[in-house]
Symmetry: C2
Subunit: 264 residues, 2 copies
């Protein structure tokens, strides 16, 4: 029998490899400019126009392969978006729409009116880590990532923290479903508190029994479990479509922006 990794570590790696499938990929391709697909062939799109269109296609889940195989010409664009006013304004707008929706929900008072949040790149941002990996354009180092998680210093997205607290005030049961592994619970809880998040109802991770599940299956399984426990899933708030669709979908899905990486 070949030497094997620790049985505790295996599911974690398995889960994380899912998260980072896209970011790890080195096969970023240079797209032909969209202009070459244009009927009259006469329209030349500059990088800003092209990358705006590319990002929209990712956010609407239209992009297909272009979601993970990010166009090389959008490298600077993604950095500018993630470090500038782009994601700030988009996450503010999203939180605004989400709060407006939240206020239309009748809260029964039995603690079962749930709002599901994703963790990474939704409540917390790993931007300080991704800076070293060209915002998703350079193959990430998982060992370094595990160390980063243990440091528990990922900042909150300001708009998400504000929304989180507003939802708590409204009486929602706040449920966080993370693609991280159960082994990171302690560091993650510390990180959440460091970043200002408190009072969650449930914090769910990938468990040993989830090994081998695709992210979509993992998230569906956790939601099904919540529904069985009597939770009413009014909303789901995530940076990945695979965490929004599938089984036991929430009544309303909110797609948080993330052009850095894509999970199939």
């Amino acid at each position: 029998m070949a030497p094997s990794a620790s049985p505790l570590l295996l599911p974690l790696i398995s889960l994380f490899s899912l998260i980072f499938t896209a970011a790890v990929s080195q096969s970023t391709i240079q797209l032909p400019t969209a202009a070459s697909h244009h009927q009259d062939g006469a329209v030349a799109y500059d990088d800003k126009v092209f990358c705006d269109s590319w990002r929209l296609s990712v956010e609407t889940n239209n992009a297909g392969d272009l979601a993970s195989n990010k166009p090389l010409r959008c490298r600077q664009y993604v950095e500018d978006y993630m470090t500038g006013i782009g994601i700030q304004a988009d996450s503010d707008m999203l939180a605004y729409a989400a709060l407006a929706y939240a206020k239309t929900v009748d809260i029964a008072g039995d603690g079962k009116d749930a709002w599901v949040f994703d963790l990474d790149e939704t409540l917390l941002t790993n931007l300080p880590y991704f800076r070293d990996y060209e915002f998703g354009y350079k193959t990430v180092n998982l060992t370094v990532y595990f160390d980063w998680v243990e440091m528990a210093v990922a900042p909150a997205f300001p708009a998400s923290l504000k929304l989180y607290n507003e939802l708590k005030e409204l009486g929602f049961a706040l449920i966080i479903i993370s693609g991280r592994g159960e082994g990171q619970r302690s560091a993650t809880e510390r990180n959440l508190v460091n970043a200002g998040f408190t009072g969650w109802d449930r914090l769910l991770f990938g468990e040993k029994a989830d090994t081998g599940l695709q992210m979509r299956e993992l998230k569906s399984k956790k939601r099904l479990q919540l529904v069985k426990e009597g939770y009413r899933l009014h909303a789901n708030y995530s940076h990945q479509w695979c965490s929004l669709v599938g089984e036991a979908m929430a009544t309303k899905s909110f797609k948080f922006p993330n052009p850095m990486y894509y999970v199939p």
Copy 2:
């Protein structure tokens, strides 16, 4: 018994009122700037940044009420987007992603591998009509709209026409499901041909029996009918989320951009 409109006209008006619920609405609101929702309150977004975020929230179906109650400050932005490079680049990118997906589909050769298209604001653009109604900001006149439809001169979206022909070449059964009424069949067929579309497999309209259905229900009903007829719905291509979700969803949905109006 009160005098009633012609029984033929009623379902049409009913259907069109659905289409134009959003555009007709005069209750466009002036949003507080997103900055006022920002945690530190210090970020002031200019119109371009704000309206980019607003449009993204519409296209991702996050916007809620803001999809139909368009922010007044985005009036010029919507016009610029619809008449400039914005929608051109976005529709090119979408067609590029759609064609890449189409090429992965195995075509059985029995004529049942279907690609569903929406009609208005997807294959055809009513932009010449909407110019007179401030691109969705001014209440539309339905009588004028009916006349416009009868003129049969709505242009094709170039990217959609190119994609349509490429899909035909690949062997897809091209199916158009329109929210228009059966009474507009003749004008619509003329318009499609005028704009360069030929060789569709099916062209479905709202029928008398569909009176009172919401757009989502209408589109679901038509798709269910197609599935019963043995069609495999590989893709659905529409400018409205209500035409993409519901029953008998296609394997893959493509959201065509449309910031002018929203159908609930």
